[in-house]
């Protein structure tokens, strides 16, 4: 019985592999997308419970992909956690702007990330980070 289905959008192969294995070990079902466009497609077709979006993706960056996901009514309800290498306040603001529910830094601190995932997956009523942002 999985705790939920997570879509991981990350272009770096090793990062993808490491995070995927850790999430699976933690009890989640994990699907992967290797860039922005395929991430958007996967969000629509797979209907995951949560999306982990790496911000530095390549031609279409994570912010843009998130905007597209949130713009589509079929995927807008899925919480997105932005993953970024830097902890700048500007990154935080940007992630809120594009509609992310949360924000975390790389290298990944697994317990912290798992806590944030749990918070986001909690029933909408209880979650302090609802779509009303």
């Amino acid at each position: 019985m999985t705790k939920g289905h997570i879509l991981l959008v990350e272009d770096n192969e090793m990062n993808r592999d490491m995070l995927m294995r850790r999430l699976r070990k933690a009890g989640y079902e994990v699907s992967c997308a290797v860039d922005g466009p395929s991430g958007v497609v996967a969000a629509l077709s797979l209907r995951p419970d949560l999306i982990l979006m790496d911000v530095a993706l390549g031609e279409m960056d994570g912010w843009q992909a998130t905007l597209l996901i949130k713009a589509n009514s079929k995927s807008a309800h899925v919480p997105v956690i932005a993953l970024t290498a830097h902890a700048l306040e500007s990154d935080r603001l940007r992630s809120l702007e594009v509609g992310c529910s949360e924000f975390d830094t790389k290298p990944v601190d697994l317990p912290r990330l798992l806590r944030k995932i749990e918070l986001c997956l909690a029933p909408a009523a209880a979650s302090p980070l609802s779509k009303d942002h």
Binding site: L88, E89, S90
Partner: protein, 477 residues
């Protein structure tokens, strides 16, 4: 100054501005002035000599001397009016008059003064150049004057010679000599003017060549700099990718071993993981230092709240502090609100200072404080990282920021490690317009003070980034 250069200066001073611009006009004007300044000296020898041997002819000699002396008026007239061509023609006319006047009274068409006519076309060439028009005008002048002279002589000329033949011979010698000297003087001066002009032109050509070489060298240097920056960027990626693999997968295996409870494997993997982190930190420092040295480190300014910034830093370092039994205190003054600077670099600087403080303190206190100061006539945020650790001796303090070569064994024993943190922090401070000061007492503790302008100053110039002086100093805005 020599007589030569004095005359040169005087001549150049008298030339009107309009003639100075063109090279050829400049040469001609110089010849004109030289001729008119020194000609009368030679010319007046003749009436003087005549006065000696024929004291009776005051009138005629007076006119001759007057005409010759009149040449001194021409430079003045040129300076005042600038009518160069007109004055040249008048001058030639005056010369023809003087020569023919002399001939009229002494010898007529076989006068010993006739050789002086030779100077007329020469002077015309020097003053006016050898264009067809000039040649035609000057020849016409000579012809008309000649015809007038012949008519006048035939009509009014004296049949009796004023002085005996022997006397005429004397006049002839003096006349020819003075003409020869005059012509030689003009030729020499002309040659010198041309030479100095050629010299000047050669110098200018040399300067232009040097300038072109410098441009080429700068382009080459820029290209080399760009190549270096590309190399660094590539190396950066090549180094970080395998390091991330080492760090990441050892972490992954650690997590697995943790849950499977394999203590020995955990210890081994922990070592790999720590070594990987250590290596990554050194690689990052080296790459950053190289980037700064190559002048390729940019500055990314943004505004952010100091309170959030400091608490993030505290969170990152708190655990490390507690591991060594240290208390970690953080305080932010209420009137420090936001700051506008490169957040990443500031974080890097303070991280380095805080981790140094933690590393050299056991069971003590490490504090990070932020306050607002009105320094340098503007707003400054002062970050103070203080510790109650080992302290640094006064002889080691000055070499901490730079001078890797002066670090001896004692230093390495005391501090160990690659020691890149402070040099990098120091350079980063420079880049964001901040200053970094260290105060320390052995056995008591250390204080690192970073003063950052609250509002970002304009980007520092390349020379500021490259400056390696040991003592940190505020950048001029």
């Amino acid at each position: 100054m020599s007589f030569r250069s004095q005359t040169d200066r005087f001549i150049d001073f008298v030339i009107p501005m309009s003639l100075l611009a063109d090279r050829e006009m400049r040469t001609r004007a110089r010849m004109f002035l030289f001729s008119h300044l020194f000609g009368p000296f030679l010319g007046n020898v003749i009436p003087l000599y005549l006065f000696v041997i024929d004291p009776g002819s005051h009138g005629a000699l007076g006119v001759l001397a007057a005409a010759i002396t009149a040449f001194w008026l021409f430079p003045i007239a040129l300076r005042l009016t600038g009518y160069y061509k007109l004055l040249s023609y008048i001058s030639i006319q005056n010369l023809l008059f003087a020569i023919l006047w002399g001939c009229f009274f002494y010898g007529g068409i076989s006068s010993p003064f006739l050789p002086w006519l030779v100077t007329v076309p020469l002077l015309a060439f020097f003053y006016l150049g050898a264009s067809q028009r000039t040649i035609v005008v000057v020849l016409s002048q000579v012809a008309i004057n000649g015809i007038v002279f012949v008519i006048a002589y035939r009509s009014f000329g004296e049949t009796e010679p004023r002085i005996p033949l022997a006397g005429l011979q004397g006049i002839g010698i003096i006349s020819t000599m003075s003409a020869a000297i005059y012509v030689s003087m003009m030729a020499i001066y002309y040659a010198r003017v041309l030479d100095s002009q050629n010299e000047l032109e050669a110098e200018v050509a040399e300067h232009l060549a040097t300038a072109a070489e410098l441009r080429a060298a700068t382009t080459a240097a820029d290209r080399a700099g760009a190549a270096k920056a590309n190399f660094l960027a590539k190396m950066s990626h090549e180094l970080r990718t395998p390091l991330n693999a080492v760090i990441g997968y050892s972490q992954l295996l650690l997590e697995d071993a943790d849950s499977d409870n394999e203590p020995q494997i955990i210890v081994d993997l922990d070592r790999i993981h720590s070594a990987g982190n250590r290596l990554l930190s050194i690689v990052n420092s080296i790459l950053d230092l190289s980037k700064i040295e190559a002048g390729k480190m940019g500055v990314d300014i943004s505004s952010f709240r100091v309170g959030t910034f400091v608490s993030d830093l505290a969170q990152k370092n708190g655990q490390a502090a507690r591991l060594r039994g240290n208390r970690f205190e953080v305080s932010v003054d209420p009137d420090v609100d936001t700051i506008e600077t490169d957040g990443l670099k500031l974080a890097h600087i303070l991280d380095a200072l805080v981790s140094n403080a933690i590393q050299y303190t056991d069971n003590g206190t490490v504090s990070l404080e932020a306050m607002r100061l009105p320094l340098w006539g503007s707003d400054v945020v002062r970050f103070t990282v203080a510790d109650t650790g080992r302290g640094i001796s006064s002889e080691l303090l000055p070499i901490l920021f730079d001078d890797f070569t002066r670090r001896n064994d004692q230093f390495v024993t005391n501090f160990g490690g690659a020691g890149l943190g402070l040099p990098l922090a120091h350079r980063l401070c420079r880049l964001i317009g901040a200053t970094l000061k260290l105060e320390s007492n052995v056995g008591i503790g250390t204080r690192a003070i970073v003063d950052v302008p609250r509002v970002a100053a304009p980007t520092p110039s390349r020379s500021d980034i490259d400056d390696r002086s040991a003592a940190p100093a505020p950048l001029a805005a």
